[in-house]
Amino acid sequence: MIKRPPPSFLWISTLAVAIVFPLVHQDSYVTEVLTSAFLYALLALGLNIVVGFTGLLHLGYAAFFAIGAYTYALLNLHFHFSFWVGLFPAAVVAGLFGVALGIPAIRVRGDYLAIVTLGFGEIVRIAFTNLDRWTGGPNGLLGIAHPTLWIPGWGLYDFGVASLPYYYLVVGVMVLVTAACLRMSRSRVGRAWAAIREDELAAACSGIDTFQLKLLAQGCGGTVAGIAGAIFAAKQGTITPDSFDFILSVMILAMVVLGGLGSVPGAILGAVVLGTLPELLRGFEQYRMLLFGLVMIFMMRLRPQGLLGSVQIRRELLAKKSETDDASPS
């Protein structure tokens, strides 16, 4: 049998390529596209915790992205929080919302949960649009400060609208989040999540505190989205509510599904593929939604575990419905 290179080797070599690539191929447009794709990858990693690890179908993920972005933006505009400081409240607030949404929905069954999260996502977006005194309404918020870095011997470096600094920022954050996700998936928490995903009732019966764990998953998911949101706001300088719509939520879900539910490298892969494709296929933007739809339909039919998902996931997705699943949701 041919020896496979250990996974850590693949991770490190991919990271090395990612670090070196924009220095070799200097094109701010390409760097921009990749930065966007990696930002999507962050979101996909976060959603993967909720949907992939724990099996909670979440259709309102864009809301946490929005909450993170607006939190940082408001803190920056009103209280002059710098990006590095504002990042933490943004992540925490988004995470708290994740938990807060999870609490009332704790006993809601799979398909109903999807609708509840969808509704929540829409409410957040509409609220941001309507509460114009606080959120700038449809105009959104302008003049959000870009991150600045104090480099000893150089002075204050403002990220501005350059592409490169954001690229490395996102890659750096991705490394941290990926490492955290990998760790969690292999830990007791991760195994407990997997148990909940496979059969919640059985998991509860074997002593797992499903309540706490489900909230934890949603909190983690929200936190990651919050971080991504703050980065997005700092990078764009302007945020408007229509950047955080249902289509974005579905797109992230499609990325996770494509890459493989529950798979950390899968989430990244799915995001890079679906995130760069629209740019590569410029001229085919109108087919974007079509593509996401087809990805989801065909993935479920042909390869439910996605490109990099585990066989375990496939088994779970194709497992017969248990009798207990159809009990009324109370």
Partner: protein, 388 residues
Amino acid sequence: MRRVLKRQWGRWIVFGILVWIVAGCGQHESPVIKIGFVGPLSGDQATQGQDMFQGAKLAVDQAAAQGEILPGYRLELVALDDQRSPTQAVAAAKKLVADRNVVAVVGHLNSSCTMPASAIYHQARMLQITPVSSNPQISRQGFDTFYRTCATDDLQGPAAALFAVQELKAKRVFIIDDMTTYGRGLANEFEKKLKGLGGEALGHEGIVQGDKDFTPLLTKIKSRSPDLVYFAGMFPEAALLIRQRRDVGLGGYFMGGDGLFDATLIELATPEAAKGIYLTTIGSDIHRIPTAKHFVEAYEKKYGPIGAYSSYAYEATHLVIRAIKVAGQKDRQAVLTAMKTVKDYPGLFGLQNFDAKGDSLIRDIGLFTVLGGKFVFLKTASWNSSTE
């Protein structure tokens, strides 16, 4: 072995894609000068975006027909789609900035896109002329790279209010906007002036783009008996409002902004219901301006009926072409400097000049009504904003 490959094919896909990106983005050397164009070429504002694009294309084609733009260089228009999305607008802006052949940009259409993109063009010291983004905030950012060939909403709104109060004698007005950058901005300007003239805003509510049912809102408005309903938004919602107000029996005047200026409005609202409504436009009626005749003829011959935006795009593109010629070199800073020398440029709308913020000094607001299923031009208000 097969099993290994099967598990790793995902990683090969990533690799393949990266190679594809690298290969696809190679720069080719060719003696070309490009003007960038960005607008909503697909999506729900595609017709307006295409109309704007065609105006720009006409200008470029005409210039190319006259020979080389600069010795050894041919002129090209590179069009990108922002789909009305600020995020995509930023990506498109960065793409244009990264292309060394692009020396200036005509775009975008929507104020919500032009705004973030303008920061990127400014940072790259590249000239940007927007044909039709009318939100006043954009030029207040202090970017010397930003220019605009249309009037702004802080002119359009007050002009409408003036007309409503003085000519229509409508003092009790109910204001509706569509909760976009453009609509909200325009409605606020209108309301400010209305109150300044002693009028009364009975209410100011927002509607959601894409919504269809405005009968509850219109019924509520009816109970307040306004003289006029002012709507700052786009023609799909305007058409529904115009029709539904008939259904609920709401009388009085109806007035809107340049977002209504599209023949589809009359079609969707039905000519009977649309009869007698008023609207303002960011510029006068293109068919009535003698200096624009050649453009109108050329455009209609090539593309058919003129939309609301193509003339501005044409003007903007021509200004860019002039700047390139004056600069004499394929250099962004030189083109930008050349643009600043514009004085009494003989454009479509008369002699074109710009103020220090980059706004056009031609501040005509057109006033139209609808009769017999068509837009009928009433008059031009040359408006000087008192906030200057």
